[in-house]
Subunit: 353 residues, 2 copies
């Protein structure tokens, strides 16, 4: 963006334009001896122009090193060929798989992805939605189904397809690809109770803006109340800090201090559970004999621990792919197969219970 002109720096038409004025479609058209319209057509659909014309245009593009300006294209056609994606966090997160799935499907179709993260902060999510809406994406992908009123308002008003995900609700903004975190944890509790465990404790990170975590906690509380009516619920949570194995170790210690009678810990994430299982190994606590442990997410590590971790598998990558498919259908003006897709979950019973 340097304002000094490398080379001779033409004064150009009138506007500031940076140093070496960029090659435009008009340059290509001139070089090929056709109109810009024909170049435009050739670029979007090569078969829509004559073979020899196409040939001259392709040569001209190569010689001029022309790179199409999508901003102008966007403005003129009212289609940006972009999708905005908003996730809580990128680092070491299972959402990375979802984004991978999303881009795996969208990039080959010519769409590009704007990515932003909220750090589980509703205000930041709203700011992101507002900001990304200014890019006029053709579609919106977002983790979660709870947003600020203003964010929801913006999402609805734009009229573009919106996919919410990783949760379940009967009233999505538009489209939904998710599953019930509540039901998933209930299935874990059912499994533990069926296995003879009676003194269960929930342990997890429950950040204020993380409604998935809240749903899991609520799933535990509800299942516990059903199996052990009247009995107090054991819950240990952390509200801050990074989602790391160290948190799992800390939670393990807190459970053993606060609820020493615990015979099974239901962790809200495999990361935490893995930290706990590894720590148990180091401390000589026998899993599952002394203490059963369950996780959530079926991360890579779950199957490799000793004992292997009982957990709930979520089709993280598939969520992204399904979301992309729904968006594509809408963006192509087709009717969507279903407005709501439940990818479900799968309880994987392994050695830790």
């Amino acid at each position: 963006m340097s304002e000094n002109g490398p080379g001779s720096a033409k004064k150009s038409t009138s506007q500031r334009r940076s140093a070496t004025r960029a090659v435009t479609m008009a340059d290509v058209a001139r070089a090929a001896g056709v109109s810009t319209q024909t170049v435009s057509r050739a670029l979007r659909d090569p078969r829509s122009v004559g073979p020899d014309t196409l040939d001259r245009i392709e040569t001209a593009v190569r010689e001029t090193h022309y790179v199409q300006n999508f901003a102008a294209s966007h403005l003129a056609s009212n289609r940006s060929m972009t999708v905005a994606a908003i996730i809580p966090t990128i680092s070491a997160s299972i959402f990375a798989d979802t984004i991978q799935g999303l881009t795996d499907v969208l990039l080959p179709e010519g769409y590009q992805v704007f990515l932003g993260h909220t750090d589980y902060t509703p205000a930041r999510e709203e700011a992101l939605v507002r900001s990304l809406a200014g890019r006029r994406p053709d579609g919106f992908f977002i983790i979660g189904t709870r947003h600020t009123q203003e964010a929801t308002e913006i999402l609805k008003r734009t009229g573009m397809p919106v996919v919410e995900s990783w949760s379940w609700t009967s009233r999505p903004v538009d489209l939904l690809v998710g599953f019930s975190n509540h039901a998933a944890i209930m299935s874990v509790v059912d499994h533990l109770v069926a296995g003879g465990y009676r003194r269960l404790t929930f342990a997890g990170m429950v950040r204020p803006g993380d409604h998935r975590a809240k749903d899991r906690l609520k799933g535990f509380i509800d299942a516990h109340a059903r199996h052990f009516p009247g009995q107090a619920t054991r819950v240990v949570t952390a509200a801050s800090g990074a989602m790391e194995m160290e948190r799992g170790v800390e939670l393990l210690h807190r459970v053993r201090e606060t609820h020493p009678e615990t015979d099974a810990i239901v962790f809200a994430s495999d990361v935490l559970a893995a930290g706990a299982v590894l720590k148990c190994g180091a401390l000589g606590i026998r899993v599952p004999d002394d203490l059963a442990i369950t996780g959530f997410g079926d991360y890579d590590i779950a199957a490799h621990l000793t004992p292997a971790l009982t957990t709930v598998a979520i089709a993280s990558r598939r969520i992204g792919m399904e979301a992309a498919r729904l968006l594509l259908q809408r963006m192509h003006g087709q009717a969507v197969e279903a407005k709501m897709v439940d990818v479900g979950f799968e309880l994987l019973v392994r050695g830790s219970t």
Copy 2:
């Protein structure tokens, strides 16, 4: 501007425009009783207009639910306020931290990030570069320093700031934030040799397009040759498959079959090393007595294994943040502090060696 009445259902000028014609700056200007110019100024720098004017404009923005169109802004100003980021893969990768660092710095500055992944395929990288260049980002971030000639050509020609990363080279396209993978592995080998290990084997995934992995392998070979001149180098690699712990388990088995005399395995990634350490635990192989193991990356799990994993820590997140800072300096027209930033690495000696 549009000459049609904004209130009544417009037959619109002529262009297709979707159903509910979007609110434009002209609508806001009309509502506030000022020119679009003033609205434009107020939006970019609130202090550049009178206090009462600002007030009327802000009210008008709120009432009309105006959302600025950045595509138009981009076209008129020749600044897109976007940065393009290209990484090999998003899933379960350490690059996620880098992207997090990048966006952590860029989003608050008003920049938005386009993300694409290449799956370690040069051709896909080139296609992505070409495609993203069409968005006219104000900056480019890319993992790696080796690209196809055409990709390099495009990156250079655009004239925008480009940060390459996660490797080291004396001749970057533009800017560089990285470290020497070669030197990092050499330090691992030096450490092992100093610890008395004599029969080292390298094990890793070395995909055709992954030059970081190749640098690590070369680092091993060079260090090995220095310490054990004339002696054959032991190397076991996998060229395909996902980077998962299971690969580490497989590599462990192959090392034990192919080079049973091995007393230390140098893994190219903590993911692989973790799989191997966990498997050793299950098989009763004592680490480090029977077999020493090292990793790369200092992933969360490294410190939690038993024994804890000796590895090389890379400031993954910091790479993203430094890159963002350099890009910002360039995009703001300032001189960069340094064109090349070596974030280094740190050998973390733990129980596995």
